[in-house]
Symmetry: C2
């Protein structure tokens, strides 16, 4: 259990640094309106979040170089980039709540409570708020104190990670409307939107800041563990406890998300089940009974077990690649544990 | 006329470099959907635009150091950032057309021509497309070949410019809904959203890439010339020729923009004129006759002349500050001419 304590401790450090960052940012702001928007970005960022990406970037760094506080500072860039993407995501998905609180564009709409265009105005301020968080990401990186050559490479990597995530996002938006969306499209989506963004990218970001090129085996670890992470996320999305995940269990289904669970269930079950799945996917009127039946189909068809098996295989291969990376053993052990943790977490 | 030729030549070089950038980007993309979105960003970027910001950044660099091709490459960052902000702007303003063509989110909506949610899907892809253009901006900068120390400072400056513009954007969104919006709020808006973004920021970006801190007098030049640029833009917005500007003359009025022309006209005219202005501002049903009457009020009240006078004063003070900057005379002469050009252009 010591790794869970380490994880909580790293999260605590990151939270404190984020809080300091926003305190400084707010003290440089001289008008009430700007302060209100910056405050929304701060509250959104500080309210929950597992800090997985900064933590992984710190471990990626620590494999190759001892941490002296600079990496903690630089790692905030990934959490600020996460806020940026989530704020925009919530606008795209028209989500009103995240982590048990109103989303930024909803909060911003409250500024215009009596205005009939409050929703649109809130979304507009939300788009800008996301853009601001992205600026903050580059700022903390550039001010982290690493040698300029490393900063330049990590800065290019940060943009490249967000770029790949953007391509994944486009594919994601598109996927709900593609009749022919198949498992290989889905894997491409996971590699772009989760692996690169959540694991491989942060590891590479950390390695570059340690003055190293990304190790090929470490990269494989990142891609494999990232896909496993996503498969587990999809399981939580359908079977998870809403009270724990903070995310409505209906939302993946209502959004029409074609997860591996769904694709395989359609492939592995009969005509009537397939028709049922098609009728609930992307249907805003899905009932609790529908959800229950969908879960039954996913389990009975063998799709649930298929995802579990794939996750296990991915994690064990990820750890194999990781073991070939030359570097600090304790950082590697932590990452090895993390690969398991990512597919066992309850939120 | 030689400067106009120089301007056109620089624009030509920037256009060619942008075109090469997108060609390379497209050749690294392996699926049709991503290529389609990147193609939209390319078409949007290459279709028109004066390239003012990259040109000004090159001049800011050339005051202090001879250009050897690296600055041209780095300057593209400002044009890509411009695409990013405009793509998001068009979503916020719900603009269907820009520079005589469909805006990116409208174009993206066409992918889903038969889908009832085509508008929302187009906007979602538009948000991501803007985010991608921002990534490209950082990428070209980091790959421009300047020494790392300079890239780090210019990268932080690029983010800081976009950050300030974001605060300006928030104030802009808010301004239409502030009863008490006054001339000093407006000047703050112009300083953030135009001066910093269009003139002072690009000059600073160029100076940093030349290995210099921003010169204080050059900064004053940028802020003053930037406000003058904005005042002229507002005049074009109300009195300009739509065929030449490519922007509907109604749009500023329909958006409820409180320009200096409007604020001063309200201050300097009688009760009935004031009421009339309030009735058309932000009114989507504004007629051609209304616009004509609004123009008459702006001229007859003396507000038009007030803006012209202020512009002249700003430009002349800007040039005064510029003359105190130590550096290459020909780059300075060009900038001096540019200050005049920015308030005389017809589009």
């Amino acid at each position: 259990m010591s790794y869970e304590r380490d994880l909580a401790e790293m999260k605590g450090q990151i939270d404190r640094s984020l809080s300091e960052f926003f305190q400084e940012k707010l003290s440089s702001v001289h008008d009430a309106l700007t302060a209100r928007v910056v405050g929304m970005i701060r509250d959104f960022t500080l309210n929950g979040g597992k800090r997985l990406r900064p933590i992984i970037s710190i471990l990626g760094h620590n494999i190759f170089e001892h941490e002296d506080g600079r990496m903690l500072k630089a790692s905030l860039a990934l959490e600020l980039a996460q806020s940026y993407l989530l704020i925009h995501d919530d606008i795209m998905d028209e989500s009103d709540m995240r982590r048990g609180r109103p989303t930024v564009h909803v909060e911003a709409g409250n500024i215009y409570a009596s205005n009939p265009r409050r929703q649109k105005l809130g979304e507009n301020i939300g788009i800008v708020a996301g853009d601001l968080a992205e600026c903050y990401a580059h700022e903390v990186l550039m001010g982290s104190g690493f040698p300029p050559e490393r900063l330049v490479r990590a800065g290019a990597e940060l943009s490249s990670i967000i770029e790949t995530t953007g391509y994944g996002q486009v594919l994601d938006i598109h996927s709900s409307h593609m009749e022919e969306f198949c498992q290989s499209d889905l894997m491409r989506l996971h590699l772009w939107k989760t692996s690169r963004y959540t694991v491989q990218g942060p590891l590479s970001f950390g390695s570059l800041l340690a003055g190293r090129d990304m190790d090929r085996n470490l990269s494989y670890y990142g891609y494999l563990a990232g896909v496993a992470f996503q498969l587990h996320d999809d399981i939580l999305g359908l079977f998870g406890n809403q009270e724990v995940t903070g995310k409505p269990v209906r939302s993946d289904v209502v959004e029409g998300k074609k997860t591996l669970l769904i694709l395989k269930a359609m492939e592995m079950s009969g005509e009537s089940e397939r028709k049922f799945i098609q009728s609930v996917l992307g249907n805003p009127g899905v009932t609790d009974d529908d959800l229950m039946r969908l879960r039954d189909i996913v389990v009975d068809s063998g799709s649930y077990q298929y995802s579990l098996d794939m996750m296990e295989r991915l994690v064990s291969r990820a750890k194999e690649y990781l073991s070939r990376v030359p570097g600090d053993e304790s950082a590697k052990d932590f990452l090895s544990w993390l690969a398991d943790f990512m597919v066992r977490r309850s939120r």
